[in-house]
């Protein structure tokens, strides 16, 4: 098992290296000069040249690339061209904000998606089944920014139930410790703030959860239908077990494996795919951080941001693969 993990981690190295290289080349292929963007429309040619020199942008690309790699190896992700802050310290609050939102959305997606899928499979071809699958289809197809704005309009403006942007009530800001506000507020015993933070999570969480919820529901349904037709389920039913027990105890465990794969992939997607949600809900997360960096041609931030997201993506997949062995004892990695 440890051997397997070691091997998988070794495999990561060429994948991530290839990634950095690709990202590095492609972002430099986009027209737009960071020095020009930083100095603004009024910059003189001299000032731009001086800034390029200072930022090391006039070195040949391969020199820049190896400098960047050297930094990565020593744990230095570089410095933002725009804010001149070290990225490693600058990135954490954004990353934490996205994690909190993505995990919250994933929990919603798993609870709603898995249960909708089970019930759909259990009562196949019932009105619930059809309804759930139509809703899932709509959920997959709905543009997230439209859904987000509609949510804001309905729950924020018309009903006034929920806040529509940011992570906290700015008039009573959370003191950040870990930057996971749900945890920070609990650590400080501020339950009132905890509720406020939770409320802020709801709308963007639901918006972000729609697509994975729909995908998980469809996957669970398909996989459950398959398992329900298998021998052991028939045996369990024949022994007089209650349908509920059969479904939730025997069938579900076997049906979860493909669902878990989808969960892993979707979690990765949420990390990178939160840009629109983060923009609509003014959520200061990693998606917006990278998106804005692209607008500013802030090369180090784009590179390191994508690198970190990719790293997390592959790590989540590794964890998912290891979870298979927990769920299904037939699977072993040797």
């Amino acid at each position: 098992m440890l051997h397997y993990i070691g091997k998988r981690l070794l495999h990561l190295i060429p994948v991530l290296l290839g990634m950095t290289f690709l990202v590095f080349l492609i972002i430099r292929a986009i027209p737009g000069d960071p020095a020009q963007v930083i100095l603004g429309q009024q910059a003189t040619a001299d000032a731009i040249a001086a800034l390029r020199l200072k930022l090391g942008l006039d070195n040949p690309w391969y020199v820049q690339y190896f400098d960047y790699l050297k930094g990565i190896v020593t744990g230095d992700l570089g410095e933002s061209l725009r804010t001149r802050q070290p990225i490693s310290s600058e990135m954490w609050p954004y990353l934490a904000a996205t994690f909190e939102l993505a995990f919250f959305a994933m929990i919603i997606a798993i609870i709603v998606g898995v249960n909708a899928g089970i019930v759909s499979a259990w009562f196949q071809n019932s009105w619930f089944d059809y309804l759930a699958m139509v809703i899932a289809l709509i959920g997959v197809s709905m543009p997230i920014f439209w859904l987000g704005l509609m949510e804001q309009w309905a729950f924020g403006i018309q009903l006034g139930w929920l806040p529509t942007s940011g992570r906290e009530e700015v008039r009573d800001p959370v003191t950040a410790i870990t930057h996971f506000y749900l945890i920070d507020t609990l650590l400080q015993g501020r339950f009132d703030q905890f509720i406020v933070v939770l409320k802020h999570l709801l709308l963007p969480g639901i918006a972000l959860a729609t697509i994975p919820t729909a995908i998980i529901a469809r996957m669970t349904r398909a996989s459950m239908l398959e398992v329900m037709r298998s021998d052991f389920v028939r045996t369990a039913r024949a022994k007089g077990q209650k349908m509920f027990v059969v479904v939730y105890k025997h069938a579900l465990k076997n049906a979860l494996i493909p669902v878990l794969t989808v969960v892993g992939l979707q979690t990765g997607m949420l990390l990178g795919g939160a840009i629109l949600t983060e923009t609509i809900f003014s959520w200061p997360g990693i998606g917006r951080y990278i998106y804005e960096a692209i607008g500013f041609r802030d090369y180090p931030v784009i590179q390191s941001g994508i690198l970190i997201v990719a790293f997390l993506f592959v790590m989540i997949n590794l964890i998912v693969d290891l979870l298979y062995t927990v769920i299904d004892s037939r699977i072993k990695y040797n």
Partner: protein, 547 residues
Amino acid sequence: MRKGKLYLVSLMMLLVMSLFLAACGADDEETSSSETSNDSSTNTDSSTTDNSSSTTPQVLVFGRGADSVSLDPGIVTDGESFKVTQNLFETLLNFGEQDTTINPGLAKEWEVSEDGLTYTFQLQEGVKFHDGTDFNAEAVIKNINRWKGGKEEDFYYFNSMFKAEGEDIIKDVTAEGDYTVVFTLSRPQAPFLKNLAMSPFGIGSPTAFEAAGDKFGDNPVGTGPFKFTEWKRNDSITIEKFEDYWQEGLPKLDKVIFRSIPDNSARLNELMAGNIDLADGINPSDGKTVEGDSALQLIERPSMNIGYLGLTNTRAPFDNKLVRQAVNYAIDKQAIVDAFFEGRAEVAANPMPPSISGYNDAISPYPYDPEKAKSLLAEAGYDGKEIELWAMPVPRPYMPDGAKVAEVIQKNLEDVGIPSKIVTFEWATYLEKANNGEADAFMLGWTGDNGDADNFIYTLLDKDNIGSNNYAYYTNEEVHSLLIQAQSETDENVRNDLYKKAQEIIHDDAPWVPLAHSTPLLAAKAGVKGFLPHPTGSDKLDNVSME
């Protein structure tokens, strides 16, 4: 392993998606993403003034489109940074409440020598920086020397305003006693006082910036009505009342929180939901919604901008003056203003707005006259080749909807026989390519920095600025000599005549189609009082109160 393949594919998808976003600037309409480009953009409104005080802490939450880059005003160029530093720092001189006249600031009086080379300032006494350091002549000198000694790429605005041909315009700054500062210039500079009033020249505490070095922007210390409290990047900046502020009874607010809400519609939603008190960057199309809501007020920022269609003068067919004039006749500017600015703009005649001293009001805009345009094109021998029409990808106060305005222009051009293809790029790419002279016709605009004619005409249309802001690659020697002369002319009337003459020549040369001077919009809760938005986009909040 099927699964291994699947996740590799997904990883590639993730990568491709993020790069795809990079390459084609996602969804510009939705997000007014921040960006540098001095167009110290954003919007506003005007409100009545009367003040109230109450015992509950007065907190104002100001929603805006993007976060600041740094809070050291000397090193930044973006409007979102100045919006905050304007309240933390003060300048030697102030602009008027809603104009760019010169008023006392940290300097209460000043004298200018006959030859325009010596400026003597009497400073306010008893002023303290937020860290307790005394404000005096020495502090002013240290600030000037910090900017002067810095590199051009660090103190961009100082270099752009106070250096010419590599030479320092401010030759020397000396103290005569604790509260008198004497500036000696190497050459007369007409807009010198106006330049000093610009946000980038806010005076910082020498104690603080000497200790902090290049980290001064993370913990800024000035003499302003508010002092810095906290910055959550990309989210919010909090500033609070400075108890020892030298002006009695100010500021009226206890705390101001600047929140970054990138999406214009989301920002308005937040205001309507009551989570913020004031929002800038209101779309002209949302103006009526705000006006129809009794809980809100619409506030107009005095206009100091120009939106234009630039014609690259070095590229065919626009290397021919007759073709450029024809395009000016072909475009129905009034229709554009009515349709896309909701009437909150005036049609432009000159490359600067009428509020600027030196504006030539004898010039009227080219009338909409397609027949005249056709005959000019025939005279020019125009070959009917398709041109590229570049549409701005981001909304700006001077151009709320580039894509739609481009469609109207395309139709106008087609009517007179100029076929065109609309193209657009992500903003940074757009600026770079236009700057390289790769566009045929392109939309752009400008918001003034200091309310001086030089900051419009010389900056945008002088041959010295080809490669920076003269995107149209317009060159005219006569205009150049008029503008250079005007820079050091200290007699206001003579100077205005020079600019008027330059505008006549420019009008005839038609390097652009000037489109509109827009009125940017803000919205606030009805209870926000005393907020007077400034044409430069840097708003002072010391007089604002909440009911």
